[in-house]
């Protein structure tokens, strides 16, 4: 992990004039255009924007699940492919995507098995991350025995189980109700502070983005691009009721303005 030694201001993810065009049957879709962004170590960056503005595509490019058609991007100072091969990130998909034939513990163990951790280490890590997402005691349960929110927590635990400094999350709480969501947001912040991971987080919710992030990236569609990057003035310690403070509302307002401007563009 050579990157640990780098200064904390060093960009963990750095995109320069990134472009991605999907060729489709009825013409090509410009999912990303001229996207430049630096994500620093320890940042919590949220991506927000209307549907189809390329949030998922951008995250997938970082994860080497999609190949950009122009521009450059580095992850931990190397290409996304090298970073993926070095298992530099954990990816949380919108759906929990747990294997139905594996227990919760078995699901969290899956990446560890693949990465060749010893059995003892697997067991130790599984119980540690289950604790982290408050699912201790559910290790032997099958996914269908858990609620949607619990499954999503298990999938986050799975992404945390191995030593990746980067966490990429694509609308992980999109399908959950407000109360569960608030709770998971709190837990996620707690976890981020404790583990000092760098997190890229896609969301549709302005309060969620403002509450969680140190940096909010506003995007707009056709072509998908970044219209605003907002550095949050909020402290890293954030109780839930920070959402009623003037600072919070001001950031939220700026995000809303950014989203509106993006819409007025087309």
């Amino acid at each position: 992990m050579q990157n640990k030694s780098l200064a904390s201001s060093e960009a963990v993810i750095s995109a320069r004039n990134l472009g991605l065009v999907f060729p489709t049957a009825d013409g090509s879709v410009e999912a990303l255009k001229d996207v430049s962004l630096d994500i620093n170590k320890g940042d919590f960056v949220s991506f927000i924007g209307p549907s189809g503005c390329g949030k998922t595509t951008f995250l997938r490019v970082m994860a080497d699940l999609e190949t950009p058609t122009s521009g450059e991007i580095t992850v931990n100072g190397v290409s996304p492919e090298e970073a993926r091969r070095a298992r530099a990130y954990g990816y949380v998909f919108q759906a929990a995507g747990l294997y139905p034939w594996r227990t919760i513990g078995g699901n969290i163990r899956l990446p560890l098995e693949i990465m060749g951790y010893s059995r003892a280490e697997q067991a130790e890590r599984v119980s540690r991350v289950l604790d982290l997402v408050e699912l201790s005691g559910f290790e032997k349960k099958f996914p269908w025995q858990l609620s949607g929110g619990m499954q999503q927590r298990a999938s986050i635990a799975r992404a945390l189980a191995f030593d990746a400094d980067i966490l990429l999350m694509d609308e992980p709480f999109g399908a959950l109700d407000e109360i569960v969501r608030d709770h998971l947001n709190e837990q996620l912040l707690e976890l981020w502070k404790r583990t000092e991971k760098t997190i890229a987080f896609v969301t549709h919710s302005i309060p969620e983005a403002v509450y969680l992030s140190t940096k909010i990236v506003v995007m707009s569609p056709r072509p998908g691009r970044i219209t605003d990057v907002i550095e949050s003035p909020l402290p890293r310690d954030r109780p839930l009721d920070i959402r009623d403070t003037p600072e919070f509302l001001e950031v939220a307002h700026r995000v809303r303005e950014g989203l509106r401007a993006g819409h007025a563009y087309d």
Binding site: Y99, W101, L110, I114, M115, F162
Partner: protein, 286 residues
């Protein structure tokens, strides 16, 4: 209890229709015999006669039951007159063919899923192979294999294999491809190898498909073994019983062989069903 009544009703209806059909189909013969003896049969006499003929067009259920009892329980199982002996001859060939067909089907499915060239080229041949009537190629397989010195179990097993690999290929290709894009992407984010992707994702995902295919393949391979016994004038096996029965008009023998075949198929399929339940239960899939 709830399911017993409907089942009994259906079984009762089948027996009623069967007995009725036996009267109807066997009546002309009964009338002929009576006419030659210058007699006219009353209705009870007619019914009694049609249910007890030696070589009826359609034997009555109890005649088949008696024949089954005689040939299954009443004979030593090493005797050529034992239906158990013949059933085993057929079953062993179809089990061997089923195993070979499953292995072949699995191998082809692997090729189709993992090799682009095979993906493009193999499936049409697999489908074409099943459009040729098995009755047309069974004699050729038997004759060709006989010519190279193979006879007995193996040629029949080959025919079973020919029929049983098909459902396995189709089912396993579908099963191995059943993981969705997200599951495959997940594997990619963990930098899993192709082997890991196969053993940890594709293979477990395909299990429900595998068992369903195996049930169809088992039934097909039994048909294959029986068909394989027909063209050679085989001396043993359920197919031989069917053939001999039809040569000599032994309809009761034919029917008892048929029922034995059905019972074998049902038992084998039920066994696979049991395996399916156990395995899927342990996997948490049911």
């Amino acid at each position: 209890m709830k399911s017993v009544l409907p089942v009994l009703t259906i079984v009762g209806a089948i027996f009623a229709i069967w007995y009725g059909a036996a009267v109807w189909l066997n009546a002309p013969w009964a009338h002929d015999v009576a006419a030659r003896a210058d007699r006219v049969l009353s209705l009870p006499e007619l019914v009694a006669d049609t249910w007890a003929q030696d070589k009826p067009k359609l034997p009555a259920p109890h005649q088949v039951a008696v024949e089954l009892w005689d040939t299954v329980v009443g004979k030593s199982i090493t005797s050529k007159r034992s239906l158990v002996y013949h059933a085993w001859i057929t079953l062993s060939a179809s089990l061997l063919g089923f195993v070979m067909g499953t292995v072949l089907g699995f191998a082809l499915a692997l090729g189709i899923v993992y090799n682009r060239v095979m993906d493009m080229s193999v499936m049409p041949w697999v489908i074409a192979s099943q459009t040729i009537p098995i009755l047309a190629i069974a004699p050729m397989i038997i004759v060709v294999l006989n010519a190279v010195g193979l006879s007995g179990l193996l040629p029949k097993a080959m025919i079973s294999m020919y029929l049983s690999f098909f459902p396995i290929v189709v089912g396993m290709v579908k099963g191995l491809r059943s993981p969705d894009g997200m599951q495959l992407d997940q594997m990619r984010t963990w930098n899993g190898s192709r082997m890991q992707e196969f053993f940890k994702l594709r293979l477990p995902s395909s299990m429900p498909y595998l068992f369903t295919s195996m049930k169809i393949a088992m039934a097909a391979s039994l048909v294959g073994a029986i068909v394989g016994e027909l063209p050679t004038g085989a001396v043993a096996g359920l197919g031989a019983r069917l053939l001999a029965g039809s040569y000599y008009g032994q309809t009761i023998q034919i029917w008892s062989a048929l029922i034995m075949a059905a019972a074998l198929a049902a038992a084998a399929v039920a066994l696979i069903g049991l395996m399916q339940r156990v395995v899927l239960k342990r996997m948490g899939l049911s």
